[in-house]
């Protein structure tokens, strides 16, 4: 873990990033798109190392909503990885999922959520669930490490089985917030 980074990544001992990767394989996810978040760093590495997964790094998260629409048109299952601030960038684009009834699973690591240090993360972090739900997204939260895999599994299933946008919010309580000595 980079002591100079402001974002926290999961500890090496945490099993959940690898469990999410296993779920992507189980659900035959072929395309993964993302704007990086430290909380997803190990999962991103695993996806990049997998020749059967096409990883697309986006300039903004809304591109990922559009990419998922295109992937589904061509028969690929895909997911979007992002941090909670990226949800704000997706709002209007989420209408694509409703227009076309396109499955759009999103795995969101929360910032500005539980013990946040950075004031800039709080407005969007606090609004993430409301914004997603306002756009008709099914939202399921996980606030313990054991709950992450079942939540991600449920969200991927609900997106593809019911043709909707669905988001798993991975709480900051799991990943932890940096305090920079201001304990």
């Amino acid at each position: 873990m980079d002591p100079n980074a402001i974002d926290k990544a999961p500890d090496a001992a945490d099993a959940w990033p690898d469990q999410i990767y296993d779920l992507l394989k189980k659900h035959e996810i072929r395309q993964v798109c993302l704007v990086p978040d430290a909380g997803h760093s190990r999962l991103i590495k695993r996806c990049l190392a997998d020749n059967e997964i096409i990883v697309t790094t986006l300039t903004t998260e809304e591109e990922g909503i559009a990419l998922m629409q295109g992937a589904w048109l061509g028969g690929d299952k895909s997911v979007l990885l992002m941090q909670s601030s990226g949800v704000g960038n997706c709002i209007n684009m989420l209408s694509l999922s409703h227009i076309h009834r396109c499955p759009m699973p999103m795995l969101v690591t929360m910032r500005g959520d539980f013990g946040e240090f950075n004031p800039a993360q709080v407005p969007m972090g606090n609004a993430t669930q409301a914004v997603l739900e306002a756009m008709g997204t099914l939202v399921k939260r996980a606030d313990t490490p054991e709950d992450i895999a079942p939540t991600v599994d449920a969200v991927i299933r609900m997106a593809f089985n019911t043709f909707r946008p669905a988001a798993a919010l991975i709480g900051q309580r799991v990943i932890g917030a940096k305090t920079f000595g201001k304990d």
Partner: protein, 200 residues
């Protein structure tokens, strides 16, 4: 193919680009490009967008990556392309050989009452695509350049990006089907066959 202004007629351009289209899949940016692709012949492999301004190029990327042997054309307006301009960087990095983007540049937001876009003031979308790393680009203003543009769409050495300067006049409204689920399903069926309805 020229309008009275001496610029390309958007509908005749579209007709020429989609002639003998084979298995070409077409994503059209919202508004006039959708009316254009429908006017020259609605098709199962057409996805006219009713919303999602800025999405067209990225939908093209997702589809091109899922179906790497099928040619994919994104036909969109200058306003729509500008809204999703970051996609040029995303696409240039992924280098999909089968993806072509053609911007019908009338230098205006036609759909909303002909307000001027940035291209009217010299913003050069081809230069932006080149800067992003697109190796194959075209800037088209004349009818005699259109056959080469059509050929580039099918050539399979993309990603390919072109701007065609078009007459700003609006054309007869020819509406595509409005049920987005239906237009998604018909394209999936055309590409995937019956599996489109049984994908788990």
């Amino acid at each position: 193919m020229l309008a009275e202004s001496g610029k390309l007629d958007r509908r005749e351009l579209t007709r020429a680009l989609l002639a003998d289209r084979g298995d070409l899949a077409v994503i059209a940016g919202l508004g006039a490009p959708c009316w254009d692709i429908t006017a020259v012949g609605d098709h199962k492999l057409n996805l006219p967008l009713w919303g999602g301004m800025g999405a067209a190029a990225m939908i093209g990327l997702g589809l091109a990556q899922a179906q790497p042997t099928r040619p994919v054309l994104v036909l969109t307006g200058d306003g729509e392309m500008l809204m999703g301009i970051g996609a040029l960087a995303t696409i240039a990095v992924k280098k999909p050989k089968n993806l072509a983007i053609v911007v019908q540049d009338n230098e205006h937001y036609g759909e909303t009452g002909m307000q001027e876009t940035a291209t009217k003031y010299g913003v050069d979308l081809v230069a932006m695509a080149k800067g992003a790393g697109f190796k194959h680009t075209m800037f088209v203003t004349k009818p005699e350049e259109v056959p080469a543009l059509r050929a580039a769409i099918h050539a399979g050495d993309g990603p390919f990006f072109a701007v065609a300067k078009i007459d700003a006049g609006s054309k007869k409204l020819v509406l595509p089907p409005r049920d987005g689920a239906a237009i998604q399903h018909r394209m999936r069926e055309a590409i995937l066959g019956d599996a489109a309805y049984h994908q788990l």
